[in-house]
């Protein structure tokens, strides 16, 4: 009995305790939520509501768009407010200077005369120009956009150095204001482009240039969002005076290592400011530094009187700073911190980009370089200075695939837009050009994927699917047909000439859509019936100039993605044509063809050499028999400078080398050689008719000269070697010939 009672009591007690406890929690809850909005709502049932959602209203609700809205421009109203034309005029008068936009501060009519041409004012006597500004001017002068005639110009560039507007700097140019006012075309800055890297001075480093730029477009480094006139100004990166004029150093990434994480997670090494603007962020970096995988080093040791201002951390920081080598950190870290310095942008940005170290930006209010076109989220981590302490966890949360993608994008962007002053300046100009001709401009895909905006000419097409670079990202593939373009320089005399055989063989290919004969021969055109009759149409185009370069002219009639470029004496079978077309289909951005050549560095002469000897590798595939995308015709004609075109035309040679330079520069890949039935070179020699340019002894020397001129224009040697050739899968295999699809290629 005793035991039973005790059981009962204890059980009851336990229950009571639970109840009291739960009750207490309820009250606590009530207290905690007294200010909670859900209790502000009167709940009819008095019950504690669960998660509150937007209620369903039982009332019929009316639409926001009442009928009156649709008639906002009704006839009575039209009389009351200004006509569109007046409105435009008013707007153009109001929105000036700080509120400039292309609509209101740019004279589009100047660009209608002869396109987008840039004029540079002549250098005034006694005017000094810094090295960097000279590089900018040289770039423009050498570009295809340059004009020396101000009456043809659409944009004007000053010959007064405006790069450094820090009054304390030695390169500061005085009385710019007076100088620009005296320029003949100044017109309050309309259609002018002003470059600037540094502005303001100690202690607050404002973005004031010290003169009134009026309606001029400002291409400025470290520009802040507040001063940036969207779609008018251009933000450029801060580059040092050592930044090369042309094709600069390559990115550091030579291969994609996996796992992509490097020794350090996040690094920074730079100055710390004891006074003045920009101190705050860099001063707090030491909170994040952990000495292991996050290495953020600052030094106070700069300037004349740093010791006067030095704080308690300085000595410790300076010691730590000296322990690490910056280059070592840069190459061995996954992320690089790019905090604001005195100005919003810093040198760390380009350094990190080149080093394939993913930039982590900590610079609130910085309008990122070329932000109008570059999608920085694909290449950098954009942080918030206010959330410095979250940076470690954010960087740690980036997964391997993302790191791999970000890192490759840094290299692409570096190489496409930042590696030289030339690229920075041309990108600036192309961005402005895209605005002026907005319906003929590049889209974001073109700017942000290989090969980059500078190699994309929107005048060719604004449709990304018509370029050879985006098939896989768009989920498309090139069309299943090609246009053969045959260059003819000898008159058509008999039906046994190689060209007739060639025409017939090519026309038999099931992928051949049409054949174009470029009549570059001085003799008059043969009669129509002299050409062999084929299933596909043959169009004869008589070149106006009959120059070498004209073989790559982008004729409107070429509408297929693929072009088969042929010399008149090329010997090819239908099998060979079919096979190489199929191969090209897998590599639509490259040159795919037969005769291969190679280049090499001639150490004794200190220049590039050219060889047509049989070698184990090649770097060029001649355009006498090769497939490539029709866009390269356009690029060859409109991207390359007249100087190179003239050189080719003058020598009547090297056009094929130039094409290989161009395609390799764009793709960063070697061409592809496919197997051939006979030895191309030998056929050439045998054919060796008097007109064959291969027989010419000067021919070879010329080609050597070409190579060196081309590489100096490109600023680097774009050609790359390949050691392989593509053959049909069963080529020369020990299996019945009947099983083989491309039999002719094996028959000798």
């Amino acid at each position: 009995m005793q035991a039973k009672k005790r059981y009962l009591l204890v059980s009851l007690g336990a229950c009571l305790l639970l109840l009291v406890y739960l009750g207490g929690l309820q009250i606590g809850e009530f207290h905690q939520h007294r200010h909670h909005p859900r209790h502000l709502l009167k709940n009819p049932s008095g019950q504690y509501p669960q998660r509150q959602h937007w209620p369903q209203w039982i009332n019929p609700l009316s639409t926001y768009l009442d009928s009156e809205e649709k008639d906002e421009d009704g006839s009575q109203l039209q009389l009351r407010h200004a006509s569109p034309r007046e409105r435009r005029e008013i707007r153009a008068n109001i929105y000036k200077n700080r509120k400039c936009r292309m609509d209101t501060c740019f004279d589009f009519s100047l660009c209608q005369r002869s396109g987008f041409k840039v004029y540079i004012y002549p250098l005034q006597k006694g005017e000094k120009i810094s090295e960097s500004y000279q590089k900018i001017l040289t770039t423009i002068e050498e570009s295809r956009l340059y004009t020396s005639d101000p009456s043809q110009a659409c944009m004007f560039v000053l010959s007064i150095d405006t790069l450094d507007r820090d009054q304390l700097s030695v390169q500061y140019v005085h009385s710019v204001k007076v100088k620009i006012q005296s320029l003949p075309q100044w017109n309050n800055g309309r259609n002018h482009l002003i470059f600037n890297l540094y502005s303001g001075t100690w202690p607050d480093y404002t973005e004031d240039l010290g003169f009134d730029i009026g309606q001029a477009i400002l291409a400025k480094a470290s520009i802040g969002m507040d001063n940036f006139r969207p779609n008018f100004d251009v933000s450029i990166p801060l580059f040092s005076k050592d930044h090369p004029q042309k094709e600069g150093e390559k990115g550091y990434l030579t291969f994609n290592n996996v796992p992509p994480s490097r020794k350090y997670l996040l690094v920074f090494k730079g100055k710390r400011y004891l006074t003045g603007i920009g101190s705050e962020t860099r001063n707090s970096l030491y909170h994040v530094h952990n000495g292991e995988d996050i290495i953020l080093l600052t030094t106070c040791k700069h300037g004349k009187d740093w010791e006067k201002h030095k704080d308690t951390r300085c000595d410790k920081d300076n010691d730590e700073y000296a322990k690490f080598d910056f280059a070592q950190l840069l190459h061995n870290s996954s992320f690089c911190l790019v905090p604001r310095g005195r100005r919003l942008g810093s040198f760390r940005f380009l350094e990190a980009l080149q080093a394939a170290c993913i930039p982590v930006l900590l610079s609130n209010g910085w309008e990122l370089p070329f932000s109008e076109t570059i999608d920085w989220s694909k290449a950098a981590v954009i942080g918030d200075e206010r959330l410095l302490l979250q940076i470690p966890s954010i960087t740690r949360s980036v997964d391997y695939d993302k790191i791999l993608a970000l890192r490759q994008q840094t290299q692409f962007l570096w190489d496409a837009y930042f590696s030289s002053v030339e690229k920075i300046v041309l990108t600036t100009l192309e961005i402005i050009q895209d605005r002026i001709y907005s319906h003929i401009s590049r889209n974001k895909l073109m700017w942000n994927s290989l090969p980059g905006g500078l190699y994309i000419l929107p005048q060719f097409s604004t449709n990304s699917a018509e370029f050879p670079f985006y098939y896989s990202v768009l989920g498309k593939s090139p069309s299943q047909e090609f246009t053969a373009v045959i260059q003819v320089v000898t008159p058509l005399m008999s039906q046994s000439q190689p060209i007739v055989k060639l025409l017939l063989a090519v026309a038999k290919s099931k992928y051949c859509a049409q054949i174009i004969v470029l009549w570059n021969c001085d003799k008059p055109l043969p009669l129509k019936n002299k050409w062999p009759s084929t299933l596909v149409p043959i169009t004869v185009i008589e070149g106006e100039s009959k120059t070498m370069s004209s073989r790559f002219f982008p004729h409107d009639i070429i509408q297929t993605d693929a072009v088969l470029s042929l010399d008149e004496d090329t010997v090819l079978s239908t099998n060979e044509v079919d096979f190489s077309f199929i191969v090209w289909h897998s590599f639509p951005d490259r040159i795919v063809g037969y005769p291969a050549r190679s280049h090499y560095w001639d150490n004794s002469k200190g220049r590039w050499g050219y060889t047509s000897k049989w070698t184990n590798e090649y770097s060029m595939v001649l355009t006498g028999a090769s497939f490539y995308h029709r866009y390269y015709h356009y690029l060859y004609t409109h991207y390359l400078p007249t100087s190179l075109h003239n050189m080719v035309d003058h020598m009547a040679n090297c056009e094929d080398i130039l094409m290989n330079f161009l395609v390799s520069a764009v793709t960063k890949l070697p061409p592809i050689k496919v197997t051939q039935k006979k030895q191309y070179k030998e056929t050439m020699m045998q054919q060796g008719s008097k007109t064959s340019r291969w027989a010419d002894p000067d021919h070879f020397a010329q080609r050597q000269t070409c190579m060196n001129s081309f590489s100096s224009w490109f600023g680097f040697m774009p050609l790359l070697h390949s050691q392989m050739r593509l053959d049909p899968v069963l080529f020369k295999d020990q299996v019945s010939i009947l099983r083989k699809k491309y039999r002719d290629i094996e028959r000798l």
Binding site: L8, L9, V10, G13, A14, L25, P37, Q50, Q52, H53, W54, P55, Q56, W57, I58, N59, L61, T63, Y64, L65, Q78, H81, S83, P84, R85, R88, R91, R101, P230, T254, F255, N256, V258, N364, D375, E385, A405, H439, K444, L445, L450, T462, N463, G475, F579, I582, W614, T615, E617, L669, Q723, M724, L726, D727, P728, L730, F731, K732, D733, K740
Partner: protein, 744 residues
């Protein structure tokens, strides 16, 4: 009786119980010491068990309730969400005194880093902002007149309820990062500006409008029609339709479409992109006469290709004027007629943003936007160049020639893109609301933002497009060499031969033997062949085929050569050449024996082919070079159950690898060098044919299984293989880099 007294002294009871509980726990900890704690009378085991049981029940109860109380709110299950049905008229009335404060006008210099309190959003693993919606109130001024003539509109209600149903929503104001007033300001015309501003200012978390988001589609009013909402709103973000470049705070405001209620009413039939009867169509009714005159002039010049519609003057009763358009007495159905035109003009009216844009996109008509300084909807993320043509107002007269210069292929792209924009971002208030929140979310968590492709690619393109993870054209340097990974079970003799052969390859940097036999230890160190490069043996814990593709830390090079322990017939030249080819194609599988998949029309399924074919779509990984990255993909990112399936069936790991690589890169593998008689899985059968056939059937099954898991056939067929440049050329062998190719 005793019970009562106990109850009347709860404290006493409590104390006793507590001490017993403590005693018990002590008791438990000392593991039943014979004497037991003094406080507890000596008990029988039975009692003790009872007490322990009771104690644990109570303890469990306490823990459970505690868990419920203190667990983060995010686990509240969605099933608990209740949506009430209520009347708008029941919502509480709020009187605004005439003297109540008005917020300052919008600050044009506001940016996320100056006017937005990012601390409220916090760092969270989901990288998603929390959005709070104020409960509905009816605001009236001192005299009892409402601040808005329409009150809550249908569209704003849809918008709020979409947000409330979304993952962004929270009902806990203290956790919110973004606040949305339930004051409807979609249409400025129905608002009393001053009173609306007062209503905003009295919201209890207003705080100068910090982190508040207002939605407005029709800003301004006659005669000037400002391009942003005139209601003073201080620092609040504005999602506005019809911003001009001067009122839009880039990176702060969000430009949204002007929603067209027609899109909910009318369902247009699906129409494929392609040529349409009219070239340019103008369907707006309130076009300024100056523009109309210019359009008419264009029509006079270019004729029938241009159609200019206006509102109808003599419609019969009951026909909605919004659904009809007329030209010279001829009546056209709107918006159906938009589908009859390739391009559709979207001219600015008094306002920059026009609801017609939405109708035009829905019809898959390419909008021709003629509204200077207009910030297009969602232009922060959408690439309008792919879906529209923008023409300056003073170039209206050149419109026809500009449009004519656009090639047909591109027009079709734009049509497709335009319709996709409508579907994804214009079609409903929900679409508009969620896109707006996503944009703000992307700004707050930029490192987790949606990509350009995610925003802009239509689902068809997303499905078929390939963004290779190794997209940079890099030819890796030769010097690091490659690591050979040999998978072996117990064929030691053959393994040693393979090792000896491979060790002759100049670019070999390391040999890794994956010992897949758990029952037998690998041979002693002294028995292994002596080679010049490091040799490592990894013992696995389970005999699985996927061990071959594990990303071992021992693999320090980018290039991996996977090789079976019976592949002894490859020459050193062949292997070295394979490595050179891989360097040119580091994102592909580069292998020796090639295979093909074929569609079997009779059986309507895929078939595996190992015969002498002219085509190749796979290379066997019994001897193949590939990037170490694919080991990661195979081990950690293989879709579906393929990896386990392969391990269970002990077959097809190579086919799985081929699927994986082709799927992620969109590229075919590369077969190198001529065909040889390989000691391959297909040839190991003891009594030839029958086993061979079952093997082929199994392999075919694999292909079908994988294709169904991938949802498509990613393999690409090619007709080429790679040989050295001078292969079989009439040239002295000793001058060739790779003379020993194809020999047996």
């Amino acid at each position: 009786m005793q019970v009562k007294s106990y109850f009347s002294h709860p404290t006493f009871f409590f104390q006793t119980w507590l001490s017993r509980a403590i005693g018990l726990s002590m008791c438990a900890s000392v593991k039943y010491s014979a004497r037991g704690p003094a406080l507890i009378p000596r008990m029988k085991t039975k009692h003790r068990i009872y007490y322990i049981a009771l104690f644990s029940v109570v303890l469990l109860g306490l823990i459970a309730t505690g868990m419920f109380q203190f667990w983060p709110h995010s686990i509240e299950s969605t099933a608990d969400w209740s949506v009430e049905r209520r009347s708008v008229h029941d919502s509480p009335l709020v009187h605004l005194p005439a003297s109540s404060p008005i917020p300052e006008r919008g600050d044009l210099s506001c940016r996320m880093h100056t006017c937005f309190d990012v601390y409220r959003c916090g760092y969270n693993p989901k990288n998603r902002i929390k959005v709070y919606i104020y409960p509905l109130r009816r605001y009236v001024d001192e005299l009892g007149a409402p601040i808005s003539s329409t009150g809550l509109s249908r569209e704003y209600n849809e918008l709020l309820s979409a947000i409330s149903d979304s993952e962004f929503y929270t009902d806990d104001v203290s956790r919110a990062c973004l606040f949305i007033p339930s004051i409807d300001v979609l249409n400025q015309n129905s608002l009393r500006i001053r009173e609306t501003a007062q209503a905003l200012a009295q919201l209890h978390r207003w705080d100068r409008g910090m982190n508040h988001l207002l939605f407005n589609m029709l800003p301004g009013g006659p005669p000037d029609y400002n391009t942003a909402l005139d209601v003073p709103r201080d620092r609040a973000l504005l999602a506005g339709g019809g911003f001009s470049t001067w009122t839009y705070r880039q990176g702060y405001d969000v430009s949204i479409p002007v929603y067209s209620p027609l899109s909910a009413e009318v369902e247009l039939p699906k129409k494929q992109p392609g040529p349409r009867p009219y070239f340019v169509l103008s369907s707006q009714t309130a076009v300024h006469m100056e523009y109309r005159a210019e359009l008419e002039a264009l029509k006079a010049e270019n004729g029938e290709a241009i159609l200019i519609l206006d509102k109808c003057t003599n419609l019969s009763e009951g026909v909605s004027p919004a659904r009809k358009r007329c030209y010279k007495g001829q009546v056209y159905d709107y918006p159906q007629t938009l589908q009859e035109s390739t391009f559709c003009v979207v001219l600015r009216g008094a306002r920059l943003g026009q609801a017609v844009l939405s109708d035009v996109l829905q019809a898959g008509c390419v909008p021709v936007i003629i509204a200077d300084s207009y910030i297009l909807p969602f232009s922060e993320v959408l690439d309008w160049k792919r879906a529209s043509v923008v023409i300056p107002e003073d170039k209206l007269s050149e419109m026809y020639s500009i449009l004519k210069s656009i090639p047909q292929r591109q027009v079709e792209e734009m049509q497709r893109q335009a319709h996709w924009f409508w579907e994804a971002y214009f079609s409903s208030m929900k679409a508009i609301a969620l896109a707006t929140l996503q944009i703000i979310n992307d700004r707050i968590y930029p490192y987790a933002a949606r990509s350009y492709e995610q925003w802009n690619d239509p689902s068809v393109v997303k499905w078929s497009s390939v963004n290779s993870p190794l997209f940079l054209p890099l030819i890796p340097p030769r010097s690091p060499g490659f690591t050979a990974v040999v998978l072996t079970y117990d064929r030691v003799e053959s393994l040693f031969r393979v090792i000896t052969e491979i060790s002759k390859v100049p670019s070999l940097s390391k040999l890794l033997v994956v010992w897949n036999n758990q029952n037998k230890s690998p041979p002693e160190e002294s028995l292994w062949p002596k080679i010049t490069v490091p040799l490592k043996v990894v013992r696995t814990t389970e005999n699985k085929l996927s061990n071959r593709f594990f990303p071992y830390d021992e693999i320090e090079t980018e290039a991996v050569l996977a090789i079976d322990d019976d592949i002894i017939m490859l020459t050193s030249d062949e292997l070295q050449f394979g490595y050179e080819v891989w360097r040119e194609f580091p994102d592909r599988l580069v292998g020796y024996p090639g295979r093909l998949h074929l569609w079997d029309h009779e059986m309507s399924k895929w078939k595996y082919e190992s015969e002498w074919t002219n085509e190749v779509s796979m290379v066997l990984t019994g001897a193949a070079f590939y990037h170490k990255y694919f080991n990661y993909l195979y081990t950690y990112k293989m879709p579906g159950d393929i990896k386990n399936w392969v391990d269970a069936h002990m077959n097809c790991e190579d086919i799985a690898m081929n699927f994986l690589v082709a799927n992620i890169t969109g590229k075919a593998p590369i077969k190198v060098t001529p065909r040889k008689k390989f000691k391959c899985p297909e040839c190991t059968a003891i009594d030839g044919l029958s086993l061979d056939q079952t093997h082929m059937v199994e392999r075919s099954e694999c292909i079908n299984k994988f294709a169904s898991v991938f949802g498509m056939m990613p393999l690409k067929v090619v007709e080429h293989r790679a040989d050295p440049v001078l292969y079989k050329d009439d040239f002295p062998e000793k001058l060739k880099s790779f003379p020993n190719i194809g020999s047996l």
